[in-house]
Structures are given as C-alpha cells and as structure tokens.
C-alpha cells in the first residue's frame, strides 16, 4: 500500500516466548476484525506458538516473558545479536511480571515444596532489559492490541511512537467509570501509565499497575491518599509488587 509516494517496508518479525503465560503472544492473534490485515503487514519468520516456520532472518524480535533460567539467557543473547530492534512485549518481559513475586522467596525451599525430590533449575525472575539492551518496551498484562497495532504501524514507517504520559485515571474518566476508591477499594490508577483504556476499573477492579508507572507519578500524594483511606502496607505492597513495574516503590 503506497502512501506519500513510498511503499512501506514489510517487517520481518520473530516472536519468542520466555517465562510467561503466552497471553501477550495470543493478543497478536486476537482482535479478530483486523488480525488478517495485521498479519499481512508483517513477515512472520518465527512464531512458535502459531507457526512451524523457524527462520532466523528477522529484523524485529518480540520477546514475551521474563528470564528465569540459564538457557533462556543464552537464547536471549543469541536473539539480541540477530535482531535490529528488540521489543519487550508485556509486563513479564518489561518488568518481570508476576514471575517476580517468587524472588522474595527462598527458591530452594520452594523448589522442594513443589517438586519434592526432583527440583528444577530456576533463577530469580528478571526483565529482558536486565539481560540485554531493549529498544522498545510495550507493557501490559496482557498488552493492549490496539496499542500494539499502532506501534506496528509506526514501526512500518519508522516513525517514533509516544506512549501516553497520563495515568490510568484519565482514560478511566473518559469511560464514565465510577472511581474504584469511591467504591471502597484500592486502585493504582493515579500513578500507573495509561493507554490500556482502563479496563480494570471499568470492570470493577482496582488497577494493579500492570503498565508500570506513569510519567512523573506523584507517589507521595498517592501514599497520602491510600493512608487516609486506611489501606495498610500489606495491601499496598500486594498491589505494587503484583506486576513488578513498581520495583522499589512502597
């Protein structure tokens, strides 16, 4: 499809999964109205979850999942060498995601608990950027397909993409949602990066911050608000630690 006198490039793309639920990958095949067109602008050379083609000739690598085992590190370094652009897809890849929750546990003990006499190899969960440089991070648990579509369109034209700087509250309001705080629950919306279109508050669930912090979040006021409303440290921590995007906050 020609535009402005230019034929845009077809992106040679590969999708790799590390430790995660593969829900973000699944989003690539969701939003059925447009998925056929979405796949047409891409040349998918590697995408194990849905394709048996296993090519190595890709420019863009989408990485889903966190790193939690030695072999994943080797694989990741290999991919980084090949990829012109390495994209971390979803909260697990961007922050470690829910996998990070295990990092505070004694992994040996946990291993014995779960696997008894056959413990498995495992490392503390890490985000992709903790292992190799990442060019683009697309947070979300799962990622928002609309946003991904836009990002892909920007990649095709090689033009910069700007994530929203505003917090979730802004989009929450634009959906006429009644504030979760008003309903007596905790919500990380005021400090979490928007762009998800606030599905959680709209569905009656306080935001757990899967997209990580908004630009310039006002933590001190957020804690004041939470304290005034009687939320205890455990509850706050459970929210803040859930997706790993607020490491060190709290």
């Amino acid at each position: 499809m020609k535009y402005l006198g230019i034929e845009p490039e077809v992106l040679k793309i590969a999708v790799f999964d590390f430790t995660g639920c593969e829900g973000c990958e699944l989003q690539l095949a969701n939003k059925e109205e447009t998925v056929a067109d979405f796949l047409k602008v891409l040349d998918v050379v590697n995408f194990r979850e849905i394709s048996s083609v296993e090519g190595d000739d890709y420019d863009i690598a989408l990485i889903e999942g966190a790193v939690t085992r030695g072999d994943e590190i080797t694989r990741l370094i290999q991919i980084r060498k090949q990829a012109r652009l390495l994209v971390a897809l979803g909260s697990c890849a961007c922050f470690g995601g829910v996998n990070r929750l295990k990092n505070v546990l004694d992994l040996n003990k946990v291993n014995r608990e779960v696997y008894g006499k056959d413990p498995k190899e495992t490392l503390p969960a890490r985000a992709i950027k903790e292992i190799v440089p990442v060019d683009l991070e697309i947070p979300g648990c799962p990622i928002n397909k609309d946003e991904l579509e836009r990002i892909v369109q920007h990649l095709i034209w090689d033009i910069p993409f700007q994530f929203p700087v505003y917090p979730v509250c802004f989009e929450c309001k634009q959906r006429y949602t009644t504030c979760i705080f008003e309903l007596g629950q905790l919500c990380l919306g005021p400090i979490t990066r928007g762009g998800c279109n606030a599905p959680c508050p709209a569905g009656g669930l306080g935001c757990y911050g899967c997209r990580g912090p908004a630009a310039d979040p006002n933590y001190s006021e957020f804690f004041t608000i939470a304290r005034e409303r009687g939320y205890k440290k455990k509850e706050l921590d459970e929210h803040f630690n859930f997706f790993g995007g607020f490491e060190g906050v709290g």
Binding site: Y166, C169, Q174, T178, E182, N218, F222, I225
Partner: protein
C-alpha cells in the same frame, strides 16, 4: 419569557411523548458509593421510571453530549497513494433533561468559545442545535458555589426550565421549540398563586447558599502568581486530569490521527485533554512550557478565573465543584480560592 404550569401527570405525559419520538438523556442513578450515597450520571433512558430528577449532582457534567471525550473530526479514505477527506457532523436530535442551572450556564460559556464568531465549531454547534434542553431548579448541592460565580440562575440556554411546586411544575419557556413541545400536553396558564409559589420556591433555594468570597479574584490571581498557595496545592496534584474530565466547562483537547490496519482508512480524532497532564504544553525537542504540577494546576485556575474573565467578563467556572469532588487529592476550588484570599492577609 413565557411561563406555564404543568401538573405532574401531564409532565409524565410530556416525557413519554419525548421518549416515544427521540433519544432522551436524563439523570439516572447508577449505584451508590461506599458511604451509601447515590451516584448519578446523565444517561440515555428508555422509561420514565429510570429518570431521577431529585438527584443532587451527577458525577460527570452534561458537556460530553456536546464535547464527547473522543470524536472523529474527519475521516480519510486512502486509495492509490491519494486520499479524500470526509467530515460528518452529528445531526440527530435528542433531548437532554434534568440539567441544573450550573450545567446550562456551562453550555452558555462553551457557546462563547465554540460557537462564537472566531472559527465557530460546526461539531459543537450541530450538537448544540440538535439538543432540546429541559432544565430544573434544585437546592444547592453540597460543596457547590454556583451562586458565587453567578451560575445559580439561568435566563436562557434552555428550551424548558422546571421549578418543582409540589403537585406541579412551573415551566419557563425559552424557545419556540420549547413552546411547541409543551403544547403537545395540557400545560396551564400561570395564575397569581403559581407566580407566588414560584417566587417563594426560588427564595427558598436562594436562602440556602453559602457565599464564597470571590472578590477581586482576577487581580488577586496575578498578585498571588508566585504564591505558596500554588506550591502547597500543586504538590498534591496527581496530574491525572480527572477534574477537567468531569468539569462542565473545560474544553481543551488534543488531536491525533490514526490509520486502520488495512491502511485504507484514516481518522482524525479529537480527544478531550487536560491542562493538568504532563505533556499538555510540551513541544517537539523536549521543552515543556509547564513541566511542574504546580504550574499546570495554577494554569487551570488561571484560565478559569482570570483569563476567561478578561476575555468574556465572567469566569469559566460555574461552581458545581465536580472537580473538587472527583479529585482524589482533595484539590478543590473553594479551598484554593479561600487560601488565595487569605494568603497575604494577616
């Protein structure tokens, strides 16, 4: 202005007539908050029973029926490396009922900006002219200060305006549309008793207001431009924009464009934005003209209570205090204005 009275059953007939012929938006209870207080929104209704005219205040103002949070300004069709632009305006009529005076006054203020003589906005005008407005009187709502900004009464900006007189409504008619619609039911001419009851009802309402000192506010804002007041309140702001979303007069926006995944269609989308958001005044190259929360918060108040005043001789604010109610950080106009008034007085 013409006045009539309408018995409650006749009023119901009127609403039923409207419900039968057009879309009707009215205050509707959507639930209760944690303290058991009812929550209301302006929402499309299908039946008379859904309407709750006794509401205190809606969470969101009625502006989004004129300035939707998101609106397609134009669409584009791409073909053979060329495009054609298409523009559509909303043309269907609808009824918006149960508006309080603040919301109607807010529309009048928006008219000044959006329907005035400098680049009148067809998107707005089209929605405005296609909306039949029925207002209603009510007792002051908690925290509201509409009287102090002169927004507690309305003399125009509506088609019909109701005042509840117990068994009947006192109806002010402000348009031929309003008149024609009212004539579909059995509206009575007003009697001396009606007028007396009406004036008494208004008096009762007026007596319930607690005034807020707005004296000399525009100049005060200039004088207190560097004031600690802004630092104190600014520190609290979450830069979330909730206040501007619920505000009946905030109209700032951003425009961005998108292309459909098949590359065949594009849309120029207007999204209401907020001057409290971090990148409101940021420009390419990384410079941000209002990088601090404090300056952004101050700007919002400045625009409402000084800038608009300068241009139109009235504040942009209608005193509904929705922004104060929605703000998690508790930032609210009455307190800020009070602080500004007292800051340099010992």
């Amino acid at each position: 202005m013409l006045f009539k009275t309408l018995s409650k059953p006749e009023f119901r007939n009127l609403v039923d007539l409207l419900l039968g012929s057009t879309e009707v938006i009215a205050p509707k209870q959507i639930g209760v908050n944690n303290d058991g207080k009812p929550l209301h929104h302006y929402l499309p209704v299908q039946e008379f029973e859904e309407i709750d005219l006794e509401y205190e205040i809606t969470e969101y103002s009625a502006k989004s029926y004129f300035l939707p949070f998101r609106e397609n300004l134009s669409s584009c069709r791409f073909e053979d490396d060329d495009w054609t632009q298409e523009i559509h305006y909303r043309l269907q009529p609808r009824v918006l009922m149960g508006l309080h005076s603040c919301d109607i006054n807010a529309l009048l203020k928006l008219d000044k900006v959006l329907a005035g003589d400098r680049f009148p906005s067809p998107y707005f005008i089209s929605r405005r002219r296609n909306t039949f407005i029925i207002g209603i009187d009510h007792y002051p709502c908690e925290g509201g200060f509409c009287q102090s900004v002169g927004a507690d009464v309305v003399t125009h900006g509506f088609d019909l305006y109701l005042t509840d007189l117990g068994d009947r409504y006192f109806v002010a008619i402000n348009s031929d549309h309003g008149y024609n619609v009212l004539m579909q039911v059995d509206a009575k001419d007003t009697t001396g008793q009606d007028n007396k009851d009406y004036l008494e009802a208004r008096q009762r309402i007026a007596s319930k207001f607690e005034p807020l000192n707005m004296h000399n506010l525009p100049n005060l804002m200039d004088i207190e431009f560097e004031s600690e007041v802004w630092k104190r309140w600014g520190k609290k702001c979450l830069s979330c924009g909730s206040c501007t979303m619920v505000c009946p007069t905030c109209y700032c926006y951003g425009v961005d464009e998108r292309v459909s995944m098949d590359g065949r269609e594009g849309a120029k989308v207007k999204q209401l934005y907020s001057c409290n958001l971090l990148d409101f005044a940021a420009v390419a190259g990384g410079h941000n003209f209002r990088a601090d929360r404090e300056t952004r918060l101050k700007y919002r108040y400045y625009h409402q209570h000084r800038g608009f005043m300068e241009t139109y001789e009235e504040p942009l604010c209608v005193g509904c205090n929705r922004c104060g109610r929605v703000c998690l950080a508790g930032i609210n106009p009455p307190e800020i204005i009070r602080d500004l008034q007292t800051e340099d007085q010992v």
